[in-house]
Symmetry: C2
Subunit: 465 residues, 2 copies
């Protein structure tokens, strides 16, 4: 069955109130496919579909719904059904749903939960958005150093239904500090009487609950881990970040950076599960409203309109030069665009380098030195290209002015583009906000001044008053 | 020890020829950290360091070296040492190294390998770059349906040292077709006498060896899998893609898209391991040569210089209009930039939507309809902003011309930006090549014509001959 067929069939069953057939039709499908196939259902329709499914299946499908949909659907559940759903969900996903609920619904559902679940929810909900703590889960497996491999496996066997992953188990002491990590693979291949202390690896890579979730995800990827243990200020284990959640964090960060580089404001785009409590995450361009798209784009566009006043002022200042040599205007878009283009490229390379941790703040100096060389070479290459057009359009004098302007404009544009991400970063702003449009605007103003200054000096035009 | 200290210490030991101390100093470190700390070593230095380490450690560090470095270092190994190294590496990484070797070295080392390893290398090397087959590994665990859970665990225990992951085992029939998947978790929690056939899940999500690696990685992420089995045309299991490799594929694709959106040509950027056979992958902006950076940038810049001739021609055509109303030039950068900016935004949203599979080719029509609304709203907002500047700079007539031009330019720019990724995709080109600089150049030419046409019509200027 394709998604389209599933969608149509479920709609039919809903219209006929045939909830039994819904459960039968969806029983064999992967929860991710169900969530995707019902992507255009209203919260009320989704709530009716979900309530027709067994609770464990409800919980799994729920994990794949967009964050805003999770909240809206959960609000429509009866109190006891909601409590049962939350109890069946994985701990990190349940904390996200809980955070998306209205205060009233939260207060109503809390007393219906078991004491342990209540405390767990409060704990996970307390970590700030964007931190490693906000994406971790509290269902992980722990063992203690003195257990034998057989005892440890027995313990994991008992805990297995309640933990997200039992493949890496964390070895903790009485203070819940992580003293080692042991893989299920090592446990099952070890002789029966070896202790965990003998098998475990003692150098454990961890994340701190208050560090950024992107850094934590990057660390998990760097060391090819299945899960990354998260510790608090006292070094005690408080949760784990699993590889699938780290992939979502990575994909989300890549989308945000990509958007910012195009001067689009990210509306806290989520992966398939919203891990930003309370954020109105949209998951799809196709489903975004016109108003949402307008808001994502209008800020930068209007700001850049005003930013471009500087280019206009520059042109006004050189009005006499333009009047004397109107052919200069032919080359204006070409020259100012070239500076913006070279600057955008330089910014793109730096933004990505900073995002993936390859380039750091302290590298600015050495990067600047190399950029001068690279941009100089590029500028000369482009000057050669433009001099051909200049000769044809305006003669040797104009060709010379245009070529010289090109070299300097490309150099200046590149240095602006390369430096801006560092400057933004220095002021604790997102370096990805050094978007192509922003750099174009800045490079334009610089280009206008450079071009007409050179033209005024070389073409024997009276300097502006 | 920080990376800097490790680097300095290893350099000292190398200078003194003290290879024993190298092995001791690096013994407790994670191979990823060793590879990173020695990032500025020459291939010859790296080869000497690696040969001081035990072979299994050599193999692990090797997996974290950039692809071009892997090839360069491997070329410096003695034939037998290289054979030992290849035998100890994971199958996918070893295939990458093998592919990076010169034909001469390949021919020399092949006879020194075991028959099974030779065949495996030939098989993995035969998949085309960019396919799921090119990133899969052949060390996976299989079981058969009739085994009991105890027998299956015993089998995994024996195979464990030779497989990348034993946490998901694929259940195959005599034709090596995948009939199910069983997790180690389910095996250890099942009663001893249950058979694999009773425990396994029969709906298995797979990838085909010839589909794109990005699609396969996305599928693994969508379904939160630890590994994705890869099948050939006859549905037989030929390999698996592990989650850590899928993360690398995702990160690499995000980088490529990001670069293209900034009109930078990706030099086949790799993750920490090069999975593109033979490609000269660079892994770091910091380590890229000036010549490499020049080549990544020069193509688009020069192309766009020639692309901008159209804007210049447009201006030349309207020379009389400009002479009559030189104040119009003030608004030129502002107006043409606005069209380019709106277009860049629209392209950014579409490129990302197409890359993550949210938007498909068939959605072009409905997207176009919505873009008209969104761009119209944006154009009106920006026209209001620019009319203020227009009034101040040129009076009510100019303000009207500039405002009207703004609405149309933003609309046209947005539609170009939104459609270009679809058009590129239609012609089997990468939609991410619809970069901000490219759209700026196209939108500029359109903007020049729209602006001066409106000005000529409304300001009572004789139309160009």
């Amino acid at each position: 069955m394709t998604e389209k067929h599933i969608n149509a069939a479920v709609r039919d069953f809903l219209a006929n109130g045939d909830t039994a057939s819904i459960a039968t039709a969806l029983a064999a499908l992967h929860p991710a496919d169900i969530a995707s196939a019902l992507g255009d259902f209203t919260p009320a329709e989704l709530a009716r579909v979900l309530e027709a499914l067994p609770v464990p299946m409800q919980a799994r499908v729920f994990g794949y719904l967009p964050a805003d949909m999770q909240g809206a659907v959960a609000e429509l559940y009866e109190r006891d059904a909601l409590a049962a759903l939350l109890a069946a969900m994985s701990h990190d996903e349940r904390a996200d749903v809980f955070n998306a609920l209205s205060r009233k619904t939260r207060d109503a559902v809390l007393p219906a939960l078991a004491q342990a679940d209540r405390e767990d929810l409060r704990k996970l909900a307390s970590y700030e958005e964007g931190t490693a703590g906000s994406v971790m889960t509290s269902d992980y497996a722990t063992v203690t150093p003195e257990l034998t491999s057989v005892e440890a496996i027995e313990r994991l066997r008992r805990e297995a239904p309640n933990t997200e992953t039992i493949y890496d188990s964390y070895v903790i002491n009485e203070a819940r500090q992580v003293v080692g990590v042991v893989s299920l693979r090592d446990l099952i291949t070890a002789p029966d009487d070896r202790t965990v202390a003998e098998i475990m690896k003692t150098s454990v890579i961890t994340a701190r609950a208050d560090e950024s979730k992107e850094e934590a995800a990057r660390r998990l990827a760097t060391y090819d881990l299945l899960a990354l243990p998260v510790i608090n200020g006292g070094d005690a284990l408080v949760g784990i970040i699993t590889a699938d959640d780290a992939m979502d964090v990575q994909a989300e960060a890549a989308t945000e950076d990509f958007y910012r580089s195009g001067a689009v404001q990210g509306p806290h785009m989520g992966g398939h599960r919203g891990d930003m409590p309370g954020a109105a995450a949209i998951t799809s361009m196709k489903k975004a409203s016109i108003w949402m798209l307008y808001r994502m784009r209008v800020f930068w566009l209007v700001l850049l309109v005003f930013g471009n006043i500087f280019s206009g002022e520059g042109i006004a200042y050189f009005e006499d030069t333009i009047m004397a040599y109107v052919a200069l205007v032919f080359f204006l878009p070409l020259l100012i665009d070239s500076g913006g283009n070279a600057g955008s490229q330089a910014a793109t390379l730096m933004v990505r380098g900073l995002a993936i941790g390859d380039v750091r703040m302290r590298d600015w100096g050495s990067m600047l030195g190399r950029e001068v060389f690279v941009a100089g070479l590029l500028g000369v290459t482009m000057a050669v290209a433009v001099s051909v057009i200049g000769l044809y359009r305006g003669g040797p004098e104009v060709a010379l002015v245009v070529s010289m302007s090109m070299v300097i404009i490309v150099l200046v544009g590149s240095l602006i583009g390369m430096s801006l991400p560092f400057i933004l970063s220095r002021f604790k702003l997102d370096p990805a906000a050094a978007s192509a449009p922003l750099i174009t605007s800045i490079a334009d103003a610089a280009g206008v001044i450079i071009y007409f200054s050179i033209a005024t000096a070389m073409l024997d035009i009276p300097a502006p008053a």
